[in-house]
């Protein structure tokens, strides 16, 4: 099992690399840069701004920039001032800088800094690094996403099981019709309608804002975010539950006189839950996608808002940071799903 996890983590490295490369070069292909303004800046000022963010270098060097001299110096620990001066550099005890105060790294460029754990500064939110912005939005998005996921799992499992137990009866049809509506009506239609009824007309809940994560502010966003997932999960559960209920061991459990509730929870549920676990990865992706819209509608200070604004304003580093964060999240949860699958289904062996 450990070997399997290790191998999968190794496999995630090229995936992440491709994601980073694609996102980086795609963003740079866009017309317009982060510092374009209505009024053109004087060329020398513009040049200085671009230089401050390394945007004046060739594109590939912006991505990764290996400086052989600096690398050798750091690796050998032999900092020769004369050799550095010949290259126009000075060593100040921790880093190499040139006469304009520009730092030269062994591994430079976006990827180089990223390997050192540095997501870079935001171009638009001045005075903030991307890491700070993400740390600022992450608690909101995480709380929202996790609550929506839990709600969707609990309600989806319950509804799906009820539908399976009452297969082809009125309650089954009504649950599946509601599930179909949940899949076909997008969350950005559902959310305003819920807001209109519960927030505006009845005035029970606030229509937007975060309010430091107060419970009544969470209710509408979490419900809107989980509706689609409730629908999908209840459909999945119904399908697998119907199959499991026909199996021999469930008949045996019933035959030996177990109460129906125990047959369902102790025997059937365990097998019926398997397809749900492999849905964990896509579900996370769905919640992440949905949160982009939900955060916009309810005006919540989460990561999704930063991403949309960042993409529209060419805030390269911010967009990259969010993409990297969400990609690693999806990859991790896919791995967790596979591991859980192996633990719950004894037929599967990883080695």
């Amino acid at each position: 099992m450990l070997r399997f996890i290790a191998r999968r983590l190794m496999g995630a490295i090229p995936t992440m690399l491709i994601i980073i490369i694609m996102a980086f070069f795609l963003m740079r292909m866009a017309k317009g840069g982060p510092f374009d303004q209505e009024r053109k800046l004087p060329p020398e000022i513009e040049r200085n701004i671009l230089a401050a963010y390394d945007l004046d270098k060739p594109l590939f060097q912006q991505f990764i920039d290996v400086n052989g001299f600096v690398c050798t110096a750091f690796l050998t620990g032999n900092h020769d001032p004369a050799a550095a001066a010949a290259r126009g550099l000075t060593y100040d005890g921790t880093k190499y800088v040139n006469d304009k105060g520009r730092q030269f790294r062994c591994l430079g460029g976006y990827l180089g800094k990223l390997l050192g754990g540095d997501l870079g500064p935001s171009y638009k939110y001045k005075d903030f690094t991307v890491a700070e912005l993400i740390a600022d939005g992450a608690p909101v998005s995480a709380l929202l996403g996790i609550s929506a996921m839990l709600l969707a799992t609990v309600i989806g499992l319950t509804l799906g099981t009820i539908a399976a137990l009452r297969q082809n009866r009125a309650s089954d049809f009504s649950i599946m019709t509601i599930a179909m509506i949940g899949i076909t009506v997008p969350s950005f239609v559902m959310a305003p309608i819920l807001t209109l009824i519960l927030g505006v007309n009845l005035g029970w809940l606030p229509v937007g804002g975060w309010n430091e994560g107060a419970l009544q502010n969470m209710i509408l966003p979490v419900i809107s975010l989980s509706l689609t997932q409730i629908a999908v999960i209840s459909r999945l559960t119904r399908g697998s539950m119907i199959e499991v209920l026909r199996s021999n061991y469930v008949r045996t459990a019933r035959a030996k006189g177990l109460p129906e509730f125990q047959v369902i929870t102790r025997h059937a549920m365990r097998a019926a839950i398997l397809p749900l676990i492999s849905y964990l990865g896509p579900a996370t992706a769905g919640i992440v996608t949905g949160s982009l819209v939900i955060e916009q509608i309810f005006n919540l200070p989460g990561i999704g808002k930063y991403f949309i604004n960042g993409a529209l304003q060419r805030d390269y580093t911010l967009v990259m940071g969010v993409v990297i964060l969400y990609a690693s999240l999806v990859i991790m949860l896919n791995l967790v799903a596979d591991v859980l699958y192996g633990l719950l289904d004894p037929k599967i062996r990883y080695d």
């Binding site: 995630a12 694609m22 996102a23 239609v189 819209v293 969400y326 999806v330």
Partner: protein, 311 residues
């Protein structure tokens, strides 16, 4: 010389005839097909024959409710009171915040949304089928490599790339087709590969190989027709997914641009006006929901028809 008589009395039924019979026995699927055909025809024809153009703005009829033909005055407000100039002008869905006829805009939006749905699905179909069939048929190391690549792409949070693509290349109509299609081909490739793997061991493929048919022709003439079933099912489920993605992008302001419109754009606009002018949200939302409903029912029906095991 013996003449081989064709046995005409016992006409066999092909897989497709069987499937068609089962599909037409499915009421939900048949009704869905009729409704969908109706919506599609209306979207195509109405812009030519309707009395208003989709970009005609009447400044004396801004945000007019629809006429009271359903007894919904309570919900929408009274047209004669709020907009005397709009009475009798055929604004059966009311007008939008720029005084444009909402009915024709919903029809135009349908045109665009359906077009994006079909074209992007077609792109996905082409890439996915070719890729999957090639990987499955060649097998071995090539298959491994090609599928690893699909796995990698699968792990991407794709909506981010679509958003980046749209931002990068601007709101280009054609590009949106390609961007969404390029996202949706992955599942298609997986399905086709799985099917191909199981089919290529069958005897008739061996026979074709033995008689010297080229690889490309075996894929085209023997493998593709046999993987068609699951592919058709997946296509009917991809179209609504694409329409949803498009509306999602439009909602974020990254979709079709004014004065053109799509259901997503109309819904996004309607959502802002919802409190005072609910019809601007309700009509496009209902049309889109019905369309997605229909596609899903047709998809389910096709699955049952082509794969009777699951019934």
């Amino acid at each position: 010389m013996a003449v081989v008589q064709p046995v005409s009395e016992f006409q066999g039924r092909s897989l497709w005839q069987d499937a068609r019979r089962r599909l037409f026995a499915n009421k939900a699927a048949v009704i869905s097909m009729i409704v969908l055909a109706l919506i599609a025809t209306m979207s195509i024809v109405m812009p030519f024959v309707w009395q208003h153009n989709f970009d005609d703005a009447y400044f004396d009829r801004i945000s007019c409710p629809p006429p009271d033909y359903l007894g919904m005055t309570g919900l929408f407000g009274n047209q004669a009171e709020m907009c005397p100039t709009a009475v009798g002008q055929g604004h059966i869905f009311g007008t939008d915040a720029n005084g444009r006829d909402l009915f024709i805009r919903v029809m135009m939006g349908g045109r665009v949304s359906l077009a994006i749905g079909f074209v992007a699905t077609f792109v996905a179909l082409m890439i996915g089928v070719l890729y999957g069939a090639t990987a499955g048929f060649i097998g071995g190391r090539v298959d491994n490599l090609m599928m690893r690549f699909v796995d990698i792409l699968y792990a991407l949070p794709f909506i981010f790339f679509v958003i980046i693509l749209v931002v990068v290349f601007g709101n280009n109509f054609l590009l949106m087709f390609v961007a969404i299609g390029a996202v949706e081909w992955l599942t298609m490739a997986r399905i086709v590969r799985g099917q191909t793997l199981s089919i290529k061991r069958k005897e008739f493929i061996e026979a074709a190989e033995a008689s010297g048919v080229s690889t490309m022709n075996i894929i085209r003439r023997h493998i593709l027709p046999n993987v068609l079933g699951p592919v058709i099912v997946y296509v009917t489920l991809t179209v609504p997914a694409v329409i949803l993605t498009e509306s999602f992008l439009s909602f974020l302001g990254l979709g079709v641009q004014e004065p053109f419109t799509s259901w997503g754009v109309l819904i996004a606009d309607g959502k802002d006006q919802m409190e005072s002018y609910p019809w601007m949200l309700i009509f496009p939302a209902v049309f889109m929901a019905i369309t997605l409903f229909c596609f899903n029912f047709i998809g389910d029906g096709l699955r049952d028809a082509l794969d009777p095991r699951d019934r």
